[in-house]
């Protein structure tokens, strides 16, 4: 569902080969950041928001907002996006567990907007978690 230059979609998080491979090399290396700062989107949805290939998007939920690279993927249905696990996507996941102990990391409704910002520095993110 699109609202001007915003699109509401369902967020799925999960593992990817690239994310898995690069996490054991080191989480502060560029390869890892690239692996987790990516959002697979349906190409039609990208068109709706006029996001070019290689363009950045902001993904927002009531809990926060992150900037990631938009990557077209015909395997993703319209209205769904996929971002690999990591410190970035966890910024926008709700902490409530509804008494189960596990956060609801899949199926969250989020808003996508085109972004002019760049990929964040992971150390900066960790510091902001630590209140710095």
């Amino acid at each position: 569902m699109s609202c001007g230059d915003r699109l509401k979609v369902v967020l799925i998080t999960g593992r990817s080969i690239k994310q898995g491979k690069s996490k054991d090399v080191g989480k502060f290396f560029d390869e890892y950041r690239e692996a987790i700062a990516v959002c697979e989107m349906n190409p039609t949805d990208m068109e709706t928001l006029s996001i070019p290939e290689g363009g950045y998007i902001d993904v927002s939920s009531p809990y926060g907002s992150i900037t990631v690279l938009a990557k077209p993927s015909p395997d993703i249905p319209s209205g769904v996006v996929f971002i690999p696990y990591g410190i970035l996507v966890n910024t926008i996941i709700p902490p409530d567990t509804d008494g189960t102990g596990i956060p609801r990391s899949k199926g969250l409704e989020v808003w996508i907007t085109p972004s002019a910002k760049h990929l964040p520095d992971l150390k900066f993110i960790v510091k902001s978690i630590g209140g710095v």
Binding site: V10, I12, T13, G14, R15, S16, I17, G20, K21, S22, D24, V25, G26, K27, F28, F29, Y63, G64, D75, I76, P77, V80, F82, Y85, G86, I87, N90, T91, I92, I93, P94, P95, D96, T97, D98, G99, T100, G101, I102, P103, R104, S105, K106, G107, L122, K123, I125, V126, K127, I129, G130, G131, V132
Partner: protein
């Protein structure tokens, strides 16, 4: 009981070790061949890209010395100073939370349980952000499962539901499920493969049948399948975005299978419904067992998260989320679970072993760490290490130190030491024992 590392004797400068167990995912493939030269790993064969990456990059991004201080104010410290600081912090804490435990040995996990019990704190493992719901369902209903060899030898129907083994458990396909060969099955030709997911994953490409389900509708779909398996009619045309005719096709495949195996992952555990999704899957498999043979097996992400569940359970009766504050093990999902304790700001110290919760828990939960001391034992420089007030480097379990681990299907394995850790770096079992000794001395 602590199992000492096998001392690596004088070996030739270059040698090869076979039947090595891979310390990455819950597959724990035990046919890895590692070549070592001058004490470093130079080649890995048979491992998938994930496992190979771990073996070949143990030297990069490594924490080489204990550090005290957060972020850029961190300074190097000696091991004894780091241990003293840790013990001081533990003594001053009222309700410490011990977390992680998925990427280390059961020997270390038991020491963590010792520590949490002595200090009257809480202890949890990474299952709670992954297969916690499977555990809840397992407690309420009981899992109907089998070791992976049953699948290899007998299964003619494989269903992957909410999991993507091609990207998260790559060798599962060839070693255990889709194209494995066994006594009664000669390979891929003897099997049908079904993938159920919200998107067409890479795993879906190798399936005979791919079913796309609307996100958040797995519970309805599993319930509908259960009805079909029981020969009840569905009075709708579609469930969860799937036409009933497709569901009937799947139900027939399941009932007609000689031995069916349902593998499931975080697609079910993390979506709307969580543990109820797993309950629905268990109920479906129960019904199927009245008509044929069917099992379900959770796809565990880390090489010893299953071991963490096993060790927690034999020692305390519960597989996750233990609170020792009353002097005995208590377990209450939502109360004693790590994410909830952090979210409510209830713990006053966070002690992490073999995990990176800052990367893997929701931000709002870990923001509490800006208020309390954080201690981490890890081989690598991770976001959690970066934020820690004290971080002590440790050896890699399964590469630099022996350890007992449990595969995703609860088969126990003993990992071996392949190479020495860098000088001065000890196994986490040693560090934990040192801390325990000092803590016992003052409690």
């Amino acid at each position: 009981m602590i199992i000492p590392s096998i001392v690596v004797e004088e070996k030739a400068a270059e040698y090869t070790i076979e039947d090595v167990i891979c310390p990455f995912c819950g597959c724990c493939c035990d046919d890895i061949i590692v070549s070592v030269k001058d004490g470093r790993i130079i080649d890995v064969r048979n491992a998938c890209t994930l496992g190979a990456s771990k073996f070949l990059h143990i030297d990069e991004g490594r924490l080489l010395k204990p550090k005290i201080g957060r972020f850029e104010s961190a300074r190097e410290a000696s091991l004894s100073e780091a241990i003293e600081t840790v013990v001081g912090l533990l003594k001053d804490s009222y309700y410490p939370l011990f977390y992680g435990w998925a990427c280390t040995s059961c020997e270390a996990i038991l020491l963590g349980l010792d520590l949490a019990e002595i200090l009257g704190g809480a202890i949890d493992n990474t299952s709670i952000v992954c297969h916690g719901p499977t555990i809840l369902a397992g407690q309420d209903l009981g899992l109907i499962t089998a070791t992976l060899g049953q699948v290899k030898n007998r299964a003619d129907l494989i269903v992957f539901w909410g999991c993507n083994p091609l990207e998260a458990h790559p060798r599962h396909i060839a070693r255990y499920s889709v194209s494995s060969k066994g006594r009664f099955i000669s390979g891929r030709r003897d099997r049908k493969v079904v993938v159920v997911d919200v998107r067409r994953t890479n795993t879906a490409r190798i399936a005979d049948l791919f079913i796309e389900v609307k996100p958040g509708y797995d519970y309805e779909v599993l319930s509908a399948l259960k009805m079909l398996v029981r020969d009840l009619d569905l009075e709708v045309d579609e469930v969860g975005g799937i036409p009933v005719s497709k569901l009937e096709e799947l139900a027939d495949m399941m009932v007609e299978a000689r031995f069916g195996a349902l593998f499931f992952g975080t697609g079910l555990t993390m979506s709307r419904g969580r543990d109820k999704n797993i309950e629905a899957a268990i109920e479906l498999v129960r019904c199927l067992n009245f008509k044929t043979k069917f099992v379900l097996i959770p796809m565990r992400g880390h090489f010893n998260v299953t071991g963490a569940n096993e060790a927690f359970t034999w020692r305390t009766g519960y597989p996750v989320s233990i609170d020792f504050s009353q002097g005995y093990p208590r377990y209450l999902p939502g109360e004693t679970t790590a994410v909830d304790i952090l979210r409510r700001g209830e713990c006053d110290l966070f002690f992490v072993v073999a995990s990176d919760p800052i990367s893997h828990m929701p931000r709002r939960a870990v923001e509490h760490l800006s208020n309390i001391p954080v201690i981490t034992l890890d081989p690598k420089l991770t976001p959690t290490v970066y934020l820690s007030d004290v971080a002590i480097p440790v050896a890699y379990t399964g590469i630099e130190v022996d350890g007992s681990v449990y595969r995703m299907d609860t088969v126990p394995l003993r990992m071996r030491k392949i190479v020495d850790p860098p000088p001065g770096i000890l196994p986490d079992t040693e560090i934990l024992r040192m801390i325990l000794e000092k803590v016992r001395g003052c409690v």
